[in-house]
Amino acid sequence: MNDLERIERIKAVLGERAAEITNPSPQRIFLTVPARTLVPALEQLKTELGYRHLSTISGVDLGDVFEILYHFGYDGGNLNIRTRIPKADPRLPSICAVIPGAVLYERELQDMFGIIVEAIPDGRRLVLPDDWPDGNYPLRKDWKHVRAAEKIPGGKS
């Protein structure tokens, strides 16, 4: 099955849910799905077309919106499902009910971007330390790392 046939089948299955679908280079398909229909769309893609291997989830800070990409691997290439959520209200549905292996990637999104993943089965911190101050999300573009003043234990000798 080549890229064009795949695109046709995805369009046939998703209907109007597939807002935009592009094929910028061979073996790569980019599909845009609104966040509110993300979970049913992934469910359909998994059960009807067999897209079940989630490689990872990437978050990108685009200023006023966050772009979330779900990278799916299949035999012959890579399907990237894109969804956008406003930065003012960063809420995203959890896809763990459909893809159980997504939980670590969703926890990483919560830590690094401050996105609230709704109905996540395990919402604890994953990569940030326990004493990390609230409201600091390192991969947001407006977050800058400020190195704390060095403290020498015991003071200067």
Binding site: Q27, H53, S55, G59, V60, N78, N80, L126, L128, P129
Partner: protein
Amino acid sequence: MKFQIPIGPQHPALKEPISLRMTVEGEVIRDADLRLGYNHRGIEKLAEERTYLQNIYLTERICGICSHSHTTCFVQGVEALLEVVAPRRGQFLRYLVAELERVHSHLLWLGVAGHEAGFDSFFMYTWRDREVVMDILEMISGNRVHYAINTLGGVRRDIDEALRTKILDSLGILRARTDYYFKLGANEPSFVGRLAGVGRLSKEDALALCAVGPTARASGVAHDVRRDDPYGIYGEIPFEVCTADSCDVLGRTVVRIKELGQSYNIIEYLLRNLPDGPVAVKAPRRAKPGEVVSRDEAPRGENIHYIKANGSDKPERLKVRAPTLANYAATLARLKNGFIADIPLIFAAIDPCICCAERTVELIDGRSGRPTVVRWSDLRRRAARRAGRVSKKRNVECPL
């Protein structure tokens, strides 16, 4: 006078510190949990402030064992963004180093598996033979760990005829040794008895939890990025994807030994068909706005980079997912209902960076809820005791 020397829980010598938390009931693990981030270095944030060329050296330092697969993944993606194609000789050398790296990583893992199973002579044999590959890598690149051979538009060093012949000669030694390991792995009763049936991961679980690499392939999931999503020159190289259906640590061992054989074939193909010509072309510094998803098959499994360019010489975003992260969910599933004594083997079976191993594990008693801290060496002693109790079948050929 008293001194306090802080070593651990985050020891500077540990590359990839990780904390595992097991809930146990007697000897049986009922629940497993892990905590990451002890060594989170903020590489994705840092990459946004470095140029594409500087980022090659940054991505090389993501991992100490599969350093080349991260730069390959990054360089492939950036070359697509810069609209540069590496010359064929450069690509052949790039994937030659990638396969040599797979050989050294799998030999390293075999040694670790032998060590965790209490078969230390196996560990010493494989690590001795691994030196053959390490020497080749050093002769090609000048380095044993960070080869620094990838650059935008090709590779940085060429090989000459003498080196080409030397690598082909060394393959003979490696092939003979690997055949011996295969015989050993399949027939040595105490080794097979220790590995068979440990850490089961069904095919359904491997698919649902998105496991990658030899972990998934040992559960019968024939995923291999080199074949599924051919990159570089892998579309024209003949090789097989090795799988096993036993779904246990023995299967993962067998898959890796078989993959060694495939890698030798690929290396031989690359060297026999090595084209003439330049090894690199000049690449521009700035990339047009765009995005690219780059994948490659690292020794541990699928490696994926997402790179977004904004028109400058620095990436807007670099997302990296290393294969070990993808395999954690599957590891937790495998630990459940296993024995405490099997933790080292099961955890080592996904081939996490070796330095994670010498750490403390917290065991929580399922009935009293009281946590106790056990050292990795104690766990290994328990493992060896348990192995001693396993009934051994003498002179049987195990179906693989």
